[in-house]
């Protein structure tokens, strides 16, 4: 009798333990599977999210968009603003147990500034680095640069993450492999369990030492509250939503708007916005017809943000007309100089085209047919531009064919292009520096090859503006100049909504889909 009772208790304990393990495992369907594991090299948002799982930042933006120490315990700036000294927190360790050192930070920054647009902007101002001791290092500048901390805190495309020196010394031109995914962040990447196309597995880093402050944006205490996270590759959105409603997965990062009613009516599921961002267009300055600034302006008058957003997103709850080249609601947002633009004024655009002497050169628009969030853009833009008198040819293709096509600096008739559209996450649309497409340096700009000294002069001035007011003023001038010359065509903002089981709860307002501060009951 006693033996039977003991067995019963043991069985109960086992069942409880199994439930606990289940509660500690999170099954998530992210917006995409991971192919490349290097967040510096890849420009995919899924790789950025992966980066924040594994690695940590030296300094980080909080929810008020202010830079806070993260791996650093503190920093100081010399009075002449030429020397930044960072001191690392105690007890920071890589996932393999070795300590995080100054040398690791220096190597990581050196790799970052070879590749990222903000880093490339900072690079010419860097005079060198000094590793004072294992926990302290100096970043020395040739001249004051107002955005040092903002650049080092960059959280998105590509985030400035601190990697071990041996990893950070890999060439910045090619991605690191799975064996080098060793960080000091809140989760450990399980290279042995990574099955491309099936799942990516992370486990809690037991040695991670979170900061004592509560989490805020990308800063604060990044406390991992679940033991194991599995990112499952479920390519079909309908299947992912069915799996969520059935309880087979805990979270779906992006639910297409047409499937939202299925999760909104389910009481066991919470719907929440995981990401938002900005659609944009880019004209090719190097070849007709958009080598003519008046034709570019006509196109900006002809395009209609609201109609585009209606066509792509559909539900007005999830889109917003916004003429600012900075994300609306952010510190620099302004629609200065944009009156009359992006409203689909076909008549005015027709007149502008006539005045510009448009000769009927076709506008060739390559667009991806395999990405639902971008596929409708091509036909919508065609319709609007044709209404204004443009001749338009669509070039449908898959996403992977787009990259090489856009790199071709040739006439549209010879395999080049005239106009393309894409999307930036809100985190990447906050200033005039971080986006590659805003580079108008005549020697180094690409993908449309814009060349405008004044625009570049203003961007340069922004990197030296050291008060918020000065930054805002220059950002406004950049916005006005953009409308004059047509570097970047804002096409409106969208919110992408995800869904998760009500058993999950964020303990803070997550800036992107992160997994610290997320608990499962």
């Amino acid at each position: 009798m006693q033996a039977r009772f003991t067995r019963f208790i043991a069985a109960l304990a086992l069942a409880g333990l199994s439930g606990l393990v289940q509660a500690q495992t999170l099954k998530v369907v992210m917006h995409s599977d991971i192919k490349v594991l290097d967040p510096l090299v890849s420009s995919q948002y899924i790789v950025r999210n992966h980066g924040h799982m594994v690695w940590d930042q030296l300094v980080a933006f909080d929810e008020k968009n202010e830079v806070r120490p993260q791996m650093a315990s503190k920093w100081t700036v010399s009075p002449d603003k030429l020397v930044y000294t960072f001191v690392l927190r105690d007890g920071l360790e890589w996932h393999d147990g070795t300590p995080v050192t100054s040398e690791d930070c220096i190597a990581s920054i050196k790799r970052f500034v070879q590749r990222d647009p903000s880093g490339l902007r900072l690079a010419p101002s860097i005079a060198g680095f000094d590793a004072v001791d294992a926990k302290t290092f100096r970043l020395k500048l040739k001249e004051p640069y107002a955005l040092v901390l903002e650049t080092l805190a960059k959280p998105s495309l590509s985030p400035m993450l601190i990697m071990p020196k041996r990893v950070a010394e890999s060439p910045a031109s090619e991605p690191i492999g799975p064996e080098k995914v060793i960080g000091s962040g809140p989760f450990i990447f399980k290279a042995d369990e990574w099955k491309p196309g099936e799942k990516v597995v992370y486990v809690r880093n037991p040695k991670y030492k979170p900061r004592s402050e509560p989490p805020s944006g990308f800063a604060g205490g990044k406390v991992a509250m679940v033991e194991r996270i599995e990112w499952l590759a479920i390519p079909d959105a309908q299947t992912a939503v069915s799996a969520l409603t059935r309880g087979e997965v805990d979270m779906v990062e992006i639910v297409p708007t047409d499937l939202l009613p299925l999760v909104e009516k389910d009481k066991a599921i919470t719907v929440l916005p995981f990401s938002s961002g900005q659609y944009f267009g880019r004209m090719n300055w190097a070849f007709p017809p958009f080598d003519n600034v008046k034709v570019r302006q006509a196109a900006m008058v002809a395009l209609n943000q609201e109609q585009i957003l209606k066509g792509v997103i559909g539900d007005p709850r999830y889109y917003k007309v916004c003429k600012s080249m900075y994300f609306c609601g952010s510190q620099l947002a302004t629609d200065a100089g944009s009156a009359g633009f992006y409203q689909g004024d076909a008549k005015r655009a027709q007149q502008m085209l006539k005045d510009a002497g448009y000769d009927g050169t076709p506008v060739v628009i390559p667009y991806p047919t395999d990405l639902p969030t971008l596929a409708p853009l091509g036909p919508l833009a065609k319709q609007q531009l044709e209404r204004a008198g443009f001749k338009v040819q669509l070039a449908p293709m898959d996403w992977q064919s787009m990259g090489p096509r856009l790199r071709k600096k040739e006439k549209a008739a010879d395999g080049g292009w005239s106009f393309f559209m894409s999307f930036y996450d809100a985190r990447d649309a906050l200033d005039p520096i971080g986006r590659t497409v805003l580079n108008t340096n005549c020697k180094t700009s690409f993908l449309g090859w814009p060349c405008d000294d004044k625009f570049e002069f203003l961007r340069d001035a922004y990197t030296r503006a050291d008060t918020p007011e000065a930054k805002r003023d220059i950002a406004r001038q950049v916005q006005e100049r953009n409308t004059e010359v047509g570097v970047f065509v804002p096409l409106g903002e969208a919110r992408f909504v995800g869904a998760m089981n009500r058993k999950l709860e964020y303990t803070f307002k997550a800036p992107i889909t992160v997994f610290w501060g997320l608990k499962k009951s």
Partner: protein, 313 residues
């Protein structure tokens, strides 16, 4: 027979070589550059060129082919451009789900379609015949993904009898393994069932009108004996042929089924590799599928000899 098998196996080599050359050449002609994909949007043209050089894509196509073939002969399928993992490992990971799905769908299809086709032939013109043929037209017409969603909605979401998605390896236990295969196998086999059932009906009908069947009946054999001993065996050759041809349809269907049911199999790997221009993976997969198809055809040829004593090689 042995010399026939040997000759057929040897004949496979030039076929595979032609397939390899075609795939290799075509892949390098399609738009899209894996180096640009690896490099990312922010990369300069110089960085993309560096990656192309490292991947060996700057070399002339015949040289690239010779290098690839040389490694293939040594059993090296190369490394995935993106995952930085050996192609052989990627295929090994994905092989079991596709094999399991294919075998389940094949077994289900044959075990349902052949009896249905025979029944329809035996009851030609009756309501049974009309029902079977009507259902087979429906089976052909219903797109695979629509059927997949319907099955998921009814049996997984509403009735909660079976899981929505995923795959459990057989090592995780028989029931978890099989319960995740039921819906995808049914979805995948429906079109195949329709095809085999129609061919079976036609073949059996042809045989049933032969003189030797009349003779068998005249000597007093029961319907069952006539069917099993005389009709089915003689009708089997075209049925076997269609099962073989249908395997290609099955492989095509596996791509859709694996996507709808989130099964990490070779079909999805093929799609992912094509979309990202992962040349080593695509080349290896197409060779693998070609080998599989050639092997199945060889087995069918051998099967003919067993089923029909008049066929000798």
């Amino acid at each position: 027979m042995l010399s026939f098998i040997l000759r057929r196996v040897l004949a496979v080599i030039p076929v595979l070589l032609i397939v390899a050359m075609l795939v290799f050449g075509l892949l390098r002609m399609v738009p899209g550059d894996p180096a640009a994909v690896i490099a990312g949007d922010a990369a300069t043209n110089e960085q993309v060129r560096d990656i192309r050089e490292r991947l060996g894509l700057e070399k002339p196509i015949p040289v690239q082919f010779a290098i690839w073939l040389g490694r293939l002969v040594q059993g090296d399928l190369g490394q995935s451009f993106f995952f930085k993992k050996p192609v052989a490992d990627l295929i090994a990971q994905r092989f079991e789900p596709t094999l399991a799905l294919g075998v389940c769908a094949l077994v289900l299809a044959v075990s349902v379609a052949v009896p249905l086709g025979v029944l329809a032939a035996f009851r030609q013109g009756s309501w049974v015949d009309r029902l079977v043929m009507g259902l087979s037209v429906m089976g052909f017409s219903l797109p695979l993904f629509v059927l997949g969603y319907l099955l998921v909605y009814i049996f997984a979401v509403e009735l909660e009898w079976l899981p929505v998605q995923g795959y459990a390896r057989i090592a995780e236990g028989f029931w978890p393994f099989i319960e995740r295969l039921i819906l995808p196998s049914v979805a995948l086999s429906v079109g195949y069932i329709a095809l085999i059932a129609r061919i079976t009906r036609t073949s059996v009908l042809e045989v049933l009108n032969e003189d030797y069947i009349r003779t068998a009946r005249a000597k007093g054999l029961t319907d069952r004996e006539v069917l099993v001993r005389h009709a089915l065996r003689n009708a089997a050759v075209p049925i076997l042929t269609i099962i073989g041809i249908g395997l290609a349809v099955l492989i095509g269907g596996a791509v859709v089924t694996e996507s709808v049911f989130a099964i990490p199999g070779l079909g999805r790997l093929t799609v992912e590799a094509v979309l990202s221009r992962d040349f080593p993976v695509i080349q290896a997969l197409i060779l693998l599928f070609s080998c599989g198809y050639l092997l199945v055809n060889l087995l069918i040829d051998i099967g003919y000899a067993f089923l029909d004593p008049r066929i000798r090689y």
